[in-house]
């Protein structure tokens, strides 16, 4: 029986080889269908993995409160100097620390708009004054030296930690540790560097686009030297901003309490702030959102892919129907020489499956190459799950069988006498 099948396959390949160009063109539909399925899934998987990694890096047990500048304040320009006061308050921090249940640690962050300079090399990174536990809570990784320490905090020391990006720019040819860097008007000793981290907003699509030039100084040092009032000079007018805290990172003790803490934070902030001058980022929610997005994405991709596979299948069926008509005489001959109906069915089914599997194999190869190219050319991560090529391959076999059945059935049910008479 296996020998017969092998012979049938060889025979089918032989018949297909009689019309090489036609057979090749026929496989193209399945080829592109299968390769686009694999490639799209790989790119989608890579993109969502990247987004999820970023979200996870924020700490899936964290709830992040951020100050944002309310929009309507821009309208009332005209005065040369005015003070805009918005954002998270020290009171908010105190409430979180004292009243929120299930909270393990709370870290406040202040951002100070200062230039960071080493001789003639200058940058405007996020200068953040924060507590030493910031590193733990947000999972920052120290690449050299150390992070801020409690004694820095107590001593109100002029020390700072640079992110790698800043360090590389300011000290391109040397280690920045122990160097004195000028932040604003003051000099700070660099005690360590951290691995760069992309910043994440509440919009997952924008995640990863804001690159992270960060400088950390002790919270007390920032408060002592720069206060709450910040001066921004913009287009001829000086604008003063008063922001007490730019960010509060709440670390929740147990992951299942994150939604509860997030809800409490929302409730608290909406009650105590007259305007919406804050945002709440919940990485866990973003993670769920990202998974939901990925699922939608997969459904859309799957639909597109199945349409192209369907079109490919119809193309194969079309060609096979033409082939059956064209080979009516051959069918008559084979029937006269003793072929049963099932032999004819098998013969044409095998040919269809060979076509679609040929397209499927080439499609899998192409589908594995495209992600490599995308990774190389566009610097996008792609992930080929081993299951995907297998599924795509299986689908192409299925297409061959489904779309081959009808032509094969037509061939098998021809009247041998009529078929033999066919010119």
């Amino acid at each position: 029986m296996r020998g017969t099948l092998m012979r049938t396959v060889r025979l089918g390949v032989g018949s297909l080889m009689l019309h090489k160009l036609r057979s090749m063109l026929t496989t193209l539909g399945v080829l592109f269908g299968v390769s686009s399925v694999i490639a799209m899934l790989a790119i989608g998987e890579g993109a969502s993995k990247k987004a999820q990694d970023q979200i996870r890096a924020l700490g899936s047990q964290n709830v992040i409160l951020r100050s944002i500048k309310p929009r309507e304040d821009f309208a009332t320009g005209g005065q040369a100097t005015r003070v805009v006061s918005y954002g998270l308050l020290n009171d908010d921090l105190a409430r979180v620390e004292k009243t929120f249940p299930g909270v393990r640690r709370v870290v406040p962050v202040r951002e100070i708009p200062l230039e960071v300079r080493n001789q003639d090399r200058a940058l405007n990174p996020r200068v953040m004054s924060t507590l030493p536990i910031y590193r733990d809570v947000t999972g920052r990784v120290v690449s050299e030296g150390r992070f801020l320490s409690d004694s820095d905090e107590q001593a109100v020391a002029n020390v700072c930690v640079l992110s790698d990006e800043v360090a590389r720019y300011l000290y391109p040819f040397q280690s920045p540790i122990g160097e004195k860097v000028k932040i604003g008007a003051d000099y700070y000793v660099v005690v360590g560097t951290t691995l760069s981290r992309k910043r994440l907003g509440s919009d997952p699509a924008m995640a990863g686009e804001v690159s992270a030039a960060e400088v950390f100084i002790p919270l007390e040092t920032g408060r002592k030297w720069y206060g709450d009032l910040q001066v921004k000079i913009r287009a001829g007018s000086r604008e003063m901003e008063e922001v007490q805290l730019h960010e509060i990172v709440i670390e929740v003790a147990a992951a299942e309490n994150v939604p509860m803490v997030a809800a409490a934070a929302r409730e608290m902030l909406s009650r105590n702030h007259r305007q919406r001058d804050y945002e709440i980022v919940v990485p866990l929610e973003l993670l769920l959102q990202a998974e939901e997005t990925k699922r939608t994405f997969n459904i859309v991709l799957g639909s597109i892919a199945s349409i192209s596979l369907l079109v490919g299948g119809i193309g194969i069926m079309n060609v096979m129907l033409a082939t059956v008509t064209e080979r009516t005489r051959e069918i008559g001959i084979r029937r006269a020489l003793g072929a049963k109906r099932r032999h004819i069915v098998t013969q044409f089914l095998v040919e269809t499956v060979v076509l679609s599997v040929g397209g499927g194999v080439l499609g899998v190869i192409l589908g594995l190459v495209i992600p490599q190219y995308v990774e190389y050319a566009y610097d996008m991560p792609t992930i080929v799950t081993p299951l995907n090529p297998l599924i795509a391959f299986g689908i192409s076999v299925g297409i061959g069988i489904v779309f081959g059945l009808y032509p094969a059935w037509r061939a098998a049910n021809m009247d041998p006498v009529e078929a033999l008479r066919h010119e």
């Binding site: 009689l18 006269a336 020489l337 003793g338 109906r341 032999h343 033999l420």
Partner: protein, 256 residues
């Protein structure tokens, strides 16, 4: 040589038709291609079937070849009634007991000579042992032993027909059915093919050859002439297998 009896009574019946009718519906009218037709082809006989177009000779051949079924009457192959047989059974019967030779050879273009000869075996569930050797032997027999790997398109018409005859012999059939086997060949080649058929007859094969060429008809052992689905004439030529002394009439093609 042909020492068969003149009257077909002694030998085993190979194909036995009893009151066979085959009616085709053509629009409003019924056409009786075979009309209450009874005849017996016996082991070792060589029959030429002649008749004008529409006489029913093609229908007879189709029924003999189990490609078509009679509307009424019985047809037995080696004593087995074909009436109750399924489509698959008929295929099986064709593959085991019948050999076909067609006017236009009907070789499969994608197969070489050896594979073409083996096609009937391909459809038997258990191929007989040593069948490839037998196929090569048959190819040698018809003078194509050195062309086993050739495709039909690389062969002349006469060579293709000889492959077709080898193919018809591969299953050692009870009955060889030849439909205008020389119709597409020039006279010299046609003579070669007829000589080959004579040889097979001499070996005891049962042959039914449909033709419209009188020369070919004369050459067979017996002649059966049909008209309007009935037997018009039965003649026993008793032609020696060396071939008739008649002139070589060029065979012009034509449908039967």
């Amino acid at each position: 040589m042909s020492s068969r009896p003149l009257v077909h009574t002694a030998a085993e019946p190979v194909a036995d038709l009893e009151h066979v009718s085959r009616v085709y519906r053509m629009g409003q009218t019924d056409v009786r291609a075979l009309d209450d037709f009874s005849f017996t082809f016996r082991q070792g006989e060589y029959w030429a079937v002649m008749g004008s177009s529409g006489s029913g000779k093609s229908t007879l051949l189709n029924i003999l070849g189990c490609l078509d079924r009679p509307n009424s009457g019985t047809y037995r192959v080696r004593g087995e009634d074909t009436q109750g047989l399924s489509d698959d059974d008929l295929s099986e019967l064709r593959s085991r007991h019948l050999g076909f030779v067609f006017q236009n050879y009907n070789l499969l273009p994608q197969l070489n000579v050896l594979e073409n000869i083996l096609v009937p075996i391909f459809y038997q569930d258990v191929p007989p042992p040593g069948i490839e050797e037998r196929a090569k032997e048959l190819a040698r027999r018809v003078g194509l032993g050195t062309r086993l790997e050739h495709r039909p398109t690389e062969l002349s018409g006469g060579q293709q027909q000889r492959v077709a005859i080898a193919r018809a012999l591969i299953n050692d059939p009870a009955l060889i059915l030849a439909d205008e086997a020389t119709g597409n060949l020039d006279s010299t080649t046609a003579q070669e093919i007829l000589a080959l058929l004579d040889e097979l007859h001499a070996e005891g094969k049962t042959i039914v050859l449909v033709t419209h060429e009188p020369e070919v008809g004369k050459r067979a052992q017996h002649l059966l002439r049909l008209k309007d689905g009935r037997i018009e004439e039965v003649r026993h030529n008793r032609a020696p297998s060396g071939g008739p002394s008649s002139s070589n009439t060029a065979g012009t093609g034509g449908a039967g």
